[in-house]
Symmetry: C2
DNA sequence: TTGATTACTTGATCGAATCAAGGATTATCG
DNA sequence: CGATAATCCTTGATTCGATCAAGTAATCAA
């Protein structure tokens, strides 16, 4: 099950459309990751490493437990996509950074995850601005 | 990590807004489920049982393996939210249906998952129609 | 310096997802 | 009719994500 957020009830057309978008987005993300033999979580963490980051920073960004990040980074490290070095400024911390291969895989993921790009691309520039404004307003 | 679909790169404002919506939606769904001690997958399956359904139908709807559904339904059954009876018309199949308690929990989930309702509610009726149209067009 | 806090790891447990394999039932076709 | 195939679901094994409790090491603060 890609991401099982099928709606219980969608009382309005807009809610239904919103749900469909979320559903298709999530599935596309997962498919793109799977195409590179990555889990969504791995692709996600890899994508957050444009700049080297501490484990805690990653955990906070993703809203999860630090031990979760330890797990995921350990796997990315085993895949040779990431390094984990002691932080020279605070030796409790560990700085995670992509390897060249990690960069390459991440670039490929960005290329392969065409869904959002394609979806937005179906709209005219004016429509894109409208969509942005509506989504931002809906997000409150 | 709620649903870790943080973007690798968001080349446009619209893509970024789309991502944010997906991210917040997924998290809200998970929180609503957790509030009822359900996993997102369990809440999802429960929500699909307005009408009794076979295991295979559920698997197809959710795009996952049948054995995955077996697992989830087994847990829902253990929670007393669902029954699994032999299909009288084809004794290979099993029909899954919500119990009264399953209905109650499902209703409560629908109430608790306020995110989509609230998001859409921040828009005027005309804006809701716009959003619907834009999302549908973006979905292709 | 002592004690608390911070940053991360480890180990355990649970659930979701997927795959291979198997049992039971139904459908097909010679 | 009867053998074979296809369908529906389950079981078992494995992997990964998520969370919690507990622990280590380093830093900070009194």
């Amino acid at each position: 099950m890609a991401v099982p957020n099928k709606p219980v009830t969608t009382s309005s057309e807009a809610e239904a459309a919103l749900f469909d978008m979320v559903d298709v987005y999530d599935r596309a993300y997962e498919v793109a990751a799977a195409g590179l033999s990555l889990s969504p979580a791995q692709a996600c963490v890899l994508g957050r490493l444009g700049e080297r980051r501490g484990m805690g920073a990653l955990a906070e960004e993703l809203g999860c437990d630090a031990s979760n990040i330890t797990q995921i980074v350990t796997r990315l490290e085993a895949l040779g996509l990431v390094t984990r070095e002691p932080d020279p400024r605070d030796r409790r911390g560990r700085l995670v950074a992509r390897t060249p291969r990690g960069d390459e895989i991440n670039d490929r993921f960005a290329t392969d995850f065409t869904f959002a790009r394609a979806a937005v691309g179906r709209l005219s520039p004016a429509e894109q601005d409208q969509l942005t404004a509506l989504l931002r307003k809906a997000l409150g």
